[in-house]
């Protein structure tokens, strides 16, 4: 082996070695790198019980109840399979609406998630409003919806309507939750 081939081997081994090393660390830390827990994971008891963590999901259509006298808001979050109730008191981001993906930080008290902070996720779809309206009218919206739900992080749900309690035609694209 010439000196040049040795140097080539050195570069290749370094890339491969670091790759394996980091992959193992990533696998070991997988749980901790995830930014939030889904309602299903919480109901399976995977979320921490006595300290604060993040929950992520879509706001269930028709579940949002605002208190007229304060900033308190009650809503359910879904990952398509299971729902979990959330209570929040404070100012919501502009993108908060029914069907929107959100991430909330807080703790669980009496089987309700008490949020201290609510952040909105937006999806990776970009289109002019007219196109969005046209898609909704033609009924193609829900197809895209299911496409978007195929992301591995999502729990695949019953065909047609990923949002319990809302007609399929009103369903919005899920985004990558």
């Amino acid at each position: 082996m010439t000196a040049r081939q040795k140097r080539m081997m050195f570069v290749a081994m370094l890339v491969a070695g670091i790759g394996v090393f980091i992959s193992l660390i990533m696998m070991a830390l997988n749980e901790n790198i995830n930014h939030f827990f889904s309602p299903t994971e919480i109901l399976e008891g995977k979320a921490p019980v006595d300290h604060s963590f993040r929950i992520g999901g879509l706001v269930v259509t028709g579940s949002v109840k605002r208190d007229p006298n304060s900033l308190r808001i009650d809503f359910d979050l879904t990952d398509g399979a299971k729902n979990y109730p959330v209570i929040y008191e404070g100012i919501l981001p502009d993108l908060f609406r029914e069907g929107q993906g959100i991430v909330a930080t807080g703790i669980i008290k009496n089987n309700v998630f008490i949020a201290e902070e609510v952040l909105a996720k937006h999806d990776e779809n970009y289109m002019p409003p007219e196109v969005a309206d046209a898609l909704k009218k033609s009924g193609k919206w829900s197809e895209e919806n299911i496409e978007a739900m195929k992301h591995p992080e999502n729990v695949p749900v019953g065909e047609g309507n990923p949002y319990p309690g809302s007609p399929a035609s009103e369903a919005r694209p899920a985004g990558a939750l």
């Binding site: 902070e117 996720k121 002019p128």
Partner: protein, 249 residues
């Protein structure tokens, strides 16, 4: 494995200096044209987004800057490897002069992302996998720059820098796939999915124009920096003295 003779010929400092001098104006002009076209179409012609309204337009800076942050890192890692294996001085030099440009694009991606995050997500920063790995990329750039500055002998500096760059390559797929492997606040990829991009064509074209523009800027600025660095490193050679004499006439 040997490199073809033409590579060695082109990469000799003198030839590189002459050739790059001819290329820079082309890159610079096409950068300016695509920049103004991209900004005009992105900011004035492209329609607002159905969900984010006008705020999504910061994407025309944020996304190309983020792509460049990873692209320049890969260019640096590859040219540093070539410099390490084939002992090509110009390849080492390209890695070294690219670093501040790459760091600047990474910083720009982080700042624009943060400014975009506040109105859309409701926060400037979260420690999710995408944002954190991009921040680590900035630290890799800064570490490389510091390492280069700390070692005086250019050959030793290049060797140490190459090792750091090669080790850091592992971060690039992590940045790219972070939004798929883990649940993050940052949304998934829009462009570059194997199926069609989830962006309307009227919004996509200005984005691709901006991405081209940023690449041309990098090409022009990296060659300018490389020329300056070549003159500094080769200052005692005859051809550099001739160049300096000719240009100061």
């Amino acid at each position: 494995m040997k490199l073809p003779a033409i590579v060695h010929k082109f990469s000799s400092p003198k030839n590189f200096y002459t050739m790059s001098g001819k290329m820079i104006p082309w890159f610079m002009w096409s950068f300016l044209i695509t920049l103004f076209a991209g900004l005009y179409y992105g900011l004035f012609v492209a329609p607002p987004d159905y969900q984010q309204g006008e705020s999504y337009r910061i994407m025309y800076i944020h996304v190309p800057a983020a792509w460049m942050s990873m692209f320049i890192y890969m260019v640096m890692a590859i040219s540093a490897s070539v410099g390490l294996i084939w002992r090509i001085k110009t390849a080492d030099l390209m890695a070294s002069v690219s670093a501040p440009i790459g760091a600047a694009f990474t910083f720009l991606a982080l700042v624009t992302g943060s400014l975009w995050g506040k109105p859309m997500w409701g926060t400037y920063w979260v420690w999710d996998a995408r944002l954190t790995s991009e921040l680590i990329l900035l630290f890799l750039y800064l570490g490389f720059i510091a390492l280069q500055a700390a070692i005086e002998d250019p050959r030793n500096a290049a060797r140490a820098g190459a090792v750091l760059l090669i080790v850091g390559v592992v971060n690039i797929p992590i940045i790219h796939y972070s939004v798929e492997w883990w649940s993050t606040l940052h949304q998934g990829a829009t462009v570059g999915k194997f199926d069609k991009p989830s962006m309307h064509i009227s919004m996509l074209i200005p984005l691709l124009v901006m991405a081209t523009s940023f690449k041309l800027y990098y090409a022009a600025s990296v060659l300018m920096r490389a020329r300056g660095e070549i003159l500094r490193r080769e200052q005692n050679t005859r051809w550099v003295k001739e160049v300096v004499e000719n240009e100061s006439k």
